[in-house]
Structures are given as structure tokens and as C-alpha cells.
């Protein structure tokens, strides 16, 4: 008879599933015990050098229950837990070792927390309060904080605790090897080789990895104290990889995006393009006023009467078509399709332009920055396929059809992150359309032709689900409120469909899941890390 392996951590028993590989830090976390650590990170190799995670380890005799401890302290990060292992994380010996490491790390630290960006989310601060000493015993003069530009990020040389996470990241994850340790002993510093600055598309992650304030994000530097910000779960809409992110905002202004751990999509990382891809949200050129351009002078509209007016115009227009942007969420695409089909049963549904830039960028650890720069082509395609019996028409094939004048009304959904994303030449066929409704973030050649120009919501302002390139669906809620004058797509469609109450993306997704087999797995709710529609539907079929 074999039973599952059992580990004893500070007197609490943890049962492991067979074959599970955890180190002492991970095992302790399972039973709610924090083992402090700097250098260890689940995504990087183990170096065991910060010595903050030292614990006492022993074994329990299965037959007698007798516990024998090893005399030495052992780093938890390099200790795989085994059956019968005993881990003690709160003994006096362990606490003394932690206090000493904390004291050591602060010997030459500039202690410039008041001007440090990391203050408030700094492990050195947190651990010092929890495990450090009250008094300073050393009279070593703290260093002044030297600042050095090493490329994509700013290095505050003397705040560093030499955990080498950033160095390992550049070796193991980005594979670009820019960062290194120079000098020896207490003179050690992180640096780059002359002429080879830190410059890769994942470099922003080193700032997140840094447990202290040594690596400063140039975009975020000195812009906000971290304790003023609230964070919301989000999904990056920068490309078809669909990384999980945290949207960190204060009073409806985004200050930074950070990766959210998701083992099935992005693990712990996001690319710089996604990380710094939020300024369009607060851009002053964003559309913020619904307009009607019937006559010579555009008329400012009020949202109150607008849904009814739009419905009226659509009903009287004749043959309809809707361009479903790959920036729409699954729910929005579904509502829009339902809306136009509800008015004209033969309305055409067309996939909006899919922006593709260059080729996929692949990193040695498997991280991919997709060349397809929109979040939801797969999801929108599946919605269109449902309504169009599997036929997916691209905008380029659809536009020539407008020439014969049969289609009188087009609803064009946008969400593109820059102004003038389409050439005037290409948009020209839309000029023939009698009723053109455009909802987009920025003015473009298409919005200039619009009968109704409606402002759209940015990614952090909407509820909804996105399906990435690997058929992985993630649902998020809004993080910030849209600017005054903007009504998110989902809300507008919901109202126009005459549904009661507030827009409820979850309810829509349930409907979609019940109706479209591809989305079936999402019917029972979507976990924070999302779920893979392909894997789940395959699993259901067998």
C-alpha cells in the first residue's frame, strides 16, 4: 500500500499528489506559510544565493514518527520536498538567519525609500518590517543612490541586492544576455557591456522581477506611488497572444500594465509592446462625442436618444452589413451580429481588418509576440461563422461588393489603437453607402465618411472575453471608466437590443456557450486564467 506523500511544515501537514515537484517555498505557500525569498523565482533557474529562504529541514520516520532535524540551515528554494520531510520555518535559528540577511542587505543600501518607485511593493521593505532588526548596528555609510542608464530601464546601482533575477531573465527567457554582474564581492554591480544596452522586447519584465527598486521602468518612473493604485485583472489586447495582465489605475487613469501569472498563456511575462501599449487610452485625440453628419454641419448628439434613432435609421435603410472588428470582445461581436440580423435577416457579417506587422517573434523559453496585432480574431471569426454558415469574408473582399449599391447600411466597428489606421483610398468604397455607422477610438478615413461617428471604448474600459491564437478564452471586467461621452460597444448594443438592466457580459457569454458549440466550455464560467476552448471541447467529446 502506498499513500500520497506527506510533508510537515511548521506542524501543518501537506499532502502532495504523486509526481508533483515542489520546493519548500512552494510547499509552504500551499499551507499558507510564507518563506521570504529574493533570488528564487518560479520562472528562473535556482541559484540559492540570497539566503533569505533558509529553513530547517529534517525527516520524520514513517514507522516511529520520530523527527530528526539536520544541523544546518538549508535554502528552501533548492530543497525539493519529499515524503516524510519536516520543514521548520519559524524557529529561532531561522529567524536569526533572516534577520542577519536583512541587516546585511541594508548595510550599503541607500535607504532612499521616499524617492524610490518600488516603495510600497518592495520585498526589502516588507521583509525588513517582518523579519529584520529594529536597530541599525553598522556604522557603514549608506551609499548614495547612483543612477545609470542601461538601455530600456534605469538602474539604481546601489539599491540592488544582487539577486541576479534580471541577469538570469536575460539569459534564460529573453535569450539576449545583455545584463551581467561586474566586479566582485561587495563591489558587485549589475551592468551591460559598453555599446550593448538592454534592448529586447521583453526587457520590461526585469523591472517586475526586481524585488527591490534597483531597476526602474522609464515609463512609470516617478509617476505614481504604488499604494495609490488599484489593480484589475485584464487581458492584453496588443496581439493575438492575449497575455494576462494587471491594469493598475488611479482615478480612471492607467499608470502601468503588469503581467499577471497565467501558466497557460504568458507564464510570468509580457512583452514591452503590450506593457507600454496603453497611452492610446488617454490620448487627447480620442473620439469622445457622438456625431451625425447628414448635412453640411456635423450635429453633436446626445446618447439618451441615440439608440432609438440608430435603430430607426437602420430599419429604414434597407440591406445591411456589419463589419465586426477583431478588437471586439466575443460578447460584443455576438450582440452586434444579433442586432443587425434582427433588423435584416440577410445582413452581411464581415471580419474587420486584421492588423499584421512583420512576423511572430519567438523567444527561447517559448514566449511569442504575435505578428497579428489584435486580440480576438479567433473569437470574432467563430461568431461570424455561426451566423454566416461558416463563411468568413474579409473586408478587402467585401468592399468591392459595395459598388453595386445594394447594401445601403453598414455598421463599422473599430477599436483600432491609432488614428488614420486605414488609407483613404481603401476606405473610398464606403462613401457609396447611404448609412454608415462607425464606432472607433480615433478619427480615420472611415470615420470621416460616417453618417454616425460614435466614440468607442478602449480595452480597459470594456467587459468581455477574448480568444487568443491558441483558442484560449479569457474574460475580463472593466478597469477604468470610459471618458465622458463614450459608451462602450457592449452597452450600446445591449440597449439597442432592448434588453433590460445593465450590460451583462457574463450572461451574454452563457448564451453564446449554449448556442455555439465552439464556446461550449465557457458556459460554466471562466476561471481567472481563462480556459482553452479546443482542449475543453475535445475533452467533452470523448
Amino acid at each position: 500500500m502506498t499513500s500520497d506523500p506527506v510533508v510537515l511544515i511548521d506542524g501543518r501537514e501537506l499532502e502532495l499528489s504523486p509526481g508533483e515537484r515542489l520546493n519548500a517555498i512552494q510547499a509552504a505557500e500551499r499551507v499558507g506559510i510564507q518563506i521570504p525569498h529574493y533570488c528564487w523565482h518560479p520562472g528562473l533557474t535556482v541559484v540559492g544565493s540570497c539566503r533569505m529562504c533558509l529553513v530547517e529541514v529534517g525527516t520524520r520516520d514513517a514507522a516511529t514518527g520520530e523527527i530528526s532535524m539536520m544541523p544546518k540551515l538549508i535554502p528552501g528554494c533548492n530543497t525539493p520536498v519529499r515524503d516524510g520531510m519536516v520543514i521548520v520555518t519559524n524557529s529561532e535559528k531561522v529567524q536569526q538567519a533572516r534577520a542577519m540577511v536583512e541587516e546585511d542587505l541594508l548595510l550599503r543600501h541607500p535607504i532612499d525609500c521616499p524617492i524610490c518607485d518600488k516603495a510600497g511593493e518592495c520585498l526589502l521593505q516588507d521583509y525588513h518590517f517582518q523579519y529584520g532588526r529594529d536597530e541599525r548596528r553598522a556604522d557603514i555609510r549608506p551609499f548614495t543612490s547612483r543612477r545609470r542608464d542601461i538601455g530600456d530601464v534605469t538602474l539604481f546601482v546601489d539599491r540592488c541586492v544582487m539577486c541576479s533575477r534580471c541577469v538570469r531573465f536575460c539569459r534564460e527567457i529573453s535569450g539576449t544576455n545583455e545584463l551581467m554582474v561586474v566586479n566582485r564581492g561587495a563591489h558587485e554591480e549589475i551592468d551591460v557591456a559598453p555599446g550593448f544596452p538592454l534592448a529586447n522586447n521583453l526587457s520590461g519584465n526585469v523591472v517586475d522581477l526586481c524585488p527591490v527598486g534597483a531597476l526602474g521602468d522609464k515609463d512609470f518612473l516617478y509617476r505614481q506611488r504604488v499604494w495609490y493604485m488599484r489593480r484589475h485583472m485584464g487581458v492584453c489586447t496588443g496581439c493575438a497572444t492575449g497575455c494576462s495582465i494587471w491594469v493598475e489605475e488611479n482615478q480612471d487613469r492607467i499608470y502601468r500594465l503588469k503581467p499577471r501569472e497565467n501558466p497557460q498563456v504568458n507564464r510570468w511575462w509580457i512583452c514591452n509592446e503590450g506593457r507600454y501599449g496603453y497611452p492610446h487610452v488617454h490620448h487627447d485625440q480620442r473620439l469622445a462625442q457622438p456625431l451625425r453628419r447628414d448635412g453640411q454641419v456635423p450635429v453633436d448628439l446626445d446618447w439618451t436618444a441615440l439608440p432609438a434613432e440608430l435603430l430607426e435609421r437602420l430599419r429604414s435603410a434597407g440591406r445591411l452589413a456589419a463589419v465586426l472588428s477583431p478588437y471586439l470582445s466575443v460578447e460584443e461581436a455576438y450582440l452586434l451580429a444579433t442586432l443587425v440580423r434582427g433588423i435584416d435577416r440577410e445582413a452581411r457579417l464581415v471580419l474587420g481588418p486584421v492588423p499584421v506587422v512583420g512576423e511572430d517573434e519567438r523567444f527561447p523559453n517559448g514566449f511569442i509576440i504575435s505578428s497579428e496585432k489584435c486580440p480576438n480574431r479567433r473569437g470574432v471569426e467563430e461568431i461570424i461563422a455561426r451566423f454566416e454558415n461558416g463563411r468568413i469574408t474579409a473586408l478587402d473582399h467585401f468592399l468591392p461588393e459595395l459598388a453595386d449599391g445594394q447594401i445601403a447600411g453598414v455598421w463599422f466597428s473599430g477599436g483600432y489603437k491609432n488614428a488614420n489606421w486605414i488609407e483613404e483610398e481603401k476606405a473610398r468604397p464606403l462613401a457609396a453607402v447611404k448609412l454608415l455607422v462607425v464606432q472607433d477610438l480615433f478619427p480615420s478615413a472611415i470615420s470621416a465618411l460616417a453618417t454616425y461617428e460614435l466614440p468607442a471604448a478602449a480595452f480597459a474600459e470594456r467587459d468581455g472575453s477574448y480568444v487568443n491564437r491558441n483558442d484560449h478564452l479569457q474574460s475580463v471586467r472593466w478597469a477604468i471608466r470610459p471618458p465622458h461621452g463614450v459608451r462602450p460597444e457592449g452597452t450600446l448594443y445591449w440597449e439597442m437590443l432592448g434588453r433590460s438592466g445593465l450590460y451583462n457580459a457574463r450572461e451574454v457569454l452563457r448564451e453564446i456557450a449554449a448556442e455555439i458549440p465552439y464556446f461550449h466550455a465557457a458556459g460554466a464560467g471562466v476561471p481567472d486564467v481563462g480556459l482553452n476552448l479546443k482542449v475543453n471541447s475535445l475533452a467533452e467529446r470523448t
Partner: protein, 450 residues
């Protein structure tokens, strides 16, 4: 023991001792020829195990046992790293061997590689030994010409090549995994163990790292037999079944305030006092010894009254030292200040700390800062306790670092402060009469604006 006939140093006084012809004339490579014919690799390991040979590099780990950790079913390749990065202060035995008798070293390496199934060996040579480099390179070329190295050595199906890799001058490269990292072209940051090098070492293959002197002992054990080896030295303690004893000859390097500093080969276990008085001519100018480092700086110090302990693997442990170390004996006479000694020692280890583990990187640096202050006449009695606290809490013995450098840094502090505390107290009281009782350091802001 005055009639001991040197074995390891038997050749060095011959004219042209570093040439192959001279070495062969004295019976060189005879053992290699015989062993390749008569013994299997496993047989060689068996002889070494039976001899209880312990590594001469400092830790005294049984060599046969180390070799037996190599995984039997591994497809290879296996590597041999020869640790010739002799950088422990006070140690120079490998240097003499490599400069004056390089063929003895090479024959020992070939035999050890045969035993450990290694087809490539790297000699990690200390940068500061240019003559050894030249002599080793010449000797290796001679061996390749003669067929002692290369494919199918002496007609046997065993092949081996030896490369000399010159270090760049770092103490940490003498730590076995630091050495391996450095050989791989990386920064010499010792690796976290397990896995041990025998399982995953150089280029992630099973690797044995041995000291030069250990490998020459291997040669003589295979030449004369394990029984001969065990007839020399201190037998194992019958009361301690885990004590492998201290057998065989050992090279003792003597430096410091003695009349005749130098290298001498003696059986393990020679009493320290006898070594100093009979083999080094006693202290210079007839002075008294104040402190003696038994085996390289990192082992700590002994006082004059402790000099009767035997210099074998367990002797120095009995007086609180870290061990025999490399048997580099450093003698300090009564005129020497222990404050200067400790400051110099701490400065060395702070300079050589690789900077990987927090306690060692910061602790060694902090100790230097404190000793500098004590020397400058601003010491506090409390500093002595702080120094001891640092020393007691760094190293692999308490478990707070990856490698043993920190233990080496801690032992001189521990032993000096415990054995010579009076001297430190007197110094602090005399030089800082107004402030020696201060308990807390000045506030941090006061330090910033100074």
C-alpha cells in the same frame, strides 16, 4: 622522523628534474605502464579506497570515495579537473611540484583519469604561476610525443588528452564548482549543491575535481601499494568509526617569521612545534611564536601553547581551527599585532568573496569596515561581539552560504578574537578611551553628511 625519505619531492633536486628523460631515468611512467597492463579502472579505485587517501586540497575528503560517486551507467564523457589554482595564502606545494617535477603530476593525472574513465583532463592553473605553465606545457608536449598521452596510450585502448587552462587570478576559482564554472567560461560563482560535480559537473557531465598533490599521491599509492601508504601518518581513531585517518606523506609549506621558510615533505601528523623548530630552523632572531596558522589562512590561528598538536586532518580541529587545510603553515612572532593580522585576513576574504551569497558578500565587507575603524582608533568593545556574530553566522557550516569561502573567512575572525581577545580589548581601550563603551552607532543621517 628525521630519517623520513621524501617520495613526492624525491626528484626535485636532480639537475633538469622537469625533463622527461630525467624523470624516466628515475623510474618515471613505469607505474603507468604497469597499471594499464595489470589493473582495471575499478581495480585502481579499489586500491585508492583501501589506502584511505584524503584530498590534499583542503577539505580532506576521501579520494576513493569521491571517485566512486561517479555514476556507473552514465554514457559519458567524464571529465577530470585538476585543481592547480593554489591560492590559499601560505600555500605553495603544488607550485613546487608543477615547476620542478611536472611529469610526476602528469603521470598522476593519467592514472587518475584511467581510474575515473575520463578522456579529457583540464589543469586549472593559477595565473600567477608562469613557470609552471611553461613547464607543464613542455612536459605535456613531451608526453604526447612519447605516446603517454593521446589516442591509445601505450597500446592500451585508453585515450586521454590534458589541457592546461590558465585562471585569471581569483581565490574562488579554487572552489571546485567555481573552478568548473570558470572553465566553462563563466563567472566563477560556485554552484549550489546538489547536484555534486561527480553527477553533474563540467559541461553538465560527471566530473572529478582533485588537487595536484592528491593526484601525485595516487601515483605513489599505485606504485608502492596501499599498505605502504598506510604505514605512514596517523592511523584512524579507533573510537571514531567514521574517521578515515590521516595517512601518507604531506607537503608542508612554512612561511612567516621563521629562519628557513620553505617546503618540506613529512608524514602526516608531524607536530607543529617540531615542524617549526626542526624543519624551519625555529623563529627568526630567537623570538617566541605568538600565533601560527596551521594550514592556510582560512583555517584560523593557534596560540603558542597549542603548537604541540599534530598537523594531520584532525589535529587542528582539536584546537578550534577549521582543519588541516592545505598545510601551509604561517608563523607570526610576538612582535606582530593580531589586529593587523585580522584586518589583513578580512581584507583578503572580502576582496575574494565572489559576491553571490548575501551573508558572505556583506559580512566580509562589514568585518573589514569594523576592523579598519578599530585600527583607526575608533573601535568599540561591542564591535568584537559583532565581529564574532558575523563570523559565527557565515559559511556552509551554519548553512548560510553556497561554498566554503565564508567558513574560511570566518575562522580567522573566530579563532583570533577568541584566542587573542585581550589584545583587541587593550587596543580599543587605549586608542579610543572616550568611546570604547558606546553601544549604538551614530545615526545613519549623521553618516551621510560626514
Amino acid at each position: 622522523m628525521a630519517d623520513y625519505e621524501p617520495v613526492l619531492l624525491a626528484n626535485i633536486h636532480k639537475e633538469g628534474s622537469h625533463r622527461l628523460a630525467v624523470y624516466e631515468a628515475g623510474g618515471g611512467y613505469r607505474t603507468l605502464r604497469r597499471v594499464l597492463q595489470e589493473r582495471s579502472p575499478a581495480g585502481v579505485i579499489e586500491v585508492i579506497r583501501a589506502s584511505n587517501l584524503r584530498g590534499r586540497g583542503g577539505a580532506g575528503f576521501p579520494t576513493g570515495l569521491k571517485w566512486s560517486f561517479l555514476p556507473a551507467d552514465h554514457p559519458g564523457p567524464f571529465y577530470m579537473c585538476v585543481n592547480a589554482d593554489e591560492s590559499e595564502p601560505g600555500t605553495f606545494c603544488n607550485r613546487v611540484q608543477m615547476e620542478l617535477d611536472p611529469h610526476q603530476v602528469i603521470e598522476g593525472i593519467i592514472l587518475s583519469c584511467y581510474a575515473t574513465r575520463a578522456n579529457t583532463a583540464y589543469i586549472y592553473l593559477r595565473y600567477e604561476y608562469p613557470l609552471a605553465l611553461e613547464r607543464l606545457e613542455t612536459a605535456l608536449a613531451e608526453c604526447r610525443d612519447k605516446g603517454y598521452l593521446g589516442k591509445n596510450i601505450l597500446g592500451h585502448d585508453f585515450s586521454l588528452d590534458i589541457h592546461v587552462h590558465r585562471g585569471a587570478g581569483a581565490y574562488i576559482c579554487g572552489e571546485e564548482t567555481g573552478l568548473i564554472e570558470s572553465l566553462e567560461g563563466k563567472r566563477a560563482w560556485p554552484r549550489i549543491k546538489p547536484p555534486f560535480p561527480a553527477v553533474e559537473g563540467l559541461f553538465r557531465k560527471p566530473t572529478v575535481v582533485n588537487n595536484v598533490e592528491t593526484l601525485t599521491c595516487v601515483l605513489h599509492i599505485l606504485d608502492r601499494g596501499a599498505d605502504w601508504f598506510k604505514s605512514i601518518g596517523t592511523p584512524s581513531d579507533p573510537k571514531n568509526p567514521r574517521d578515515p585517518g590521516s595517512y601518507g606523506p604531506k607537503l608542508y609549506g612554512i612561511s612567516g617569521h621563521v629562519e628557513r621558510p620553505g617546503l618540506v615533505e613529512l608524514p602526516l601528523g608531524v607536530p607543529c612545534r617540531e615542524l617549526i623548530e626542526e624543519h624551519a630552523g625555529g623563529l627568526r632572531q630567537g623570538r617566541r611564536a605568538k600565533a601560527v596558522v596551521p594550514g592556510g589562512l582560512s583555517t584560523g590561528v593557534m596560540t603558542e601553547s597549542e603548537l604541540d598538536i599534530p598537523l594531520d586532518f584532525s589535529g587542528p580541529l582539536r584546537v578550534g581551527c577549521l582543519g588541516l587545510g592545505t598545510a601551509g603553515v604561517i608563523v607570526l612572532d610576538e612582535t606582530y599585532s593580531m589586529i593587523d593580522f585580522l584586518h589583513n585576513s578580512c581584507r583578503f576574504f572580502a576582496h575574494e568573496s565572489c559576491g553571490q551569497c548575501t551573508p558572505c558578500r556583506e559580512g566580509t565587507h562589514w568585518a573589514v569596515a569594523m576592523l579598519q575603524r578599530i585600527k583607526a582608533g575608533r573601535g568599540r568593545l561591542k564591535d568584537l561581539d559583532l565581529l564574532l556574530e558575523i563570523a559565527d553566522n557565515i559559511g556552509i557550516i551554519p548553512g548560510t552560504t553556497i561554498c566554503g569561502l565564508a567558513d574560511g573567512a570566518a575562522w580567522p575572525i573566530k579563532t583570533t578574537l577568541r584566542k587573542f581577545r585581550e589584545e583587541f580589548v587593550d587596543h580599543i581601550k587605549q586608542t579610543n578611551p572616550g568611546g570604547y563603551t558606546a553601544q549604538s552607532p551614530p545615526p545613519a543621517m549623521a553618516l551621510v553628511h560626514k
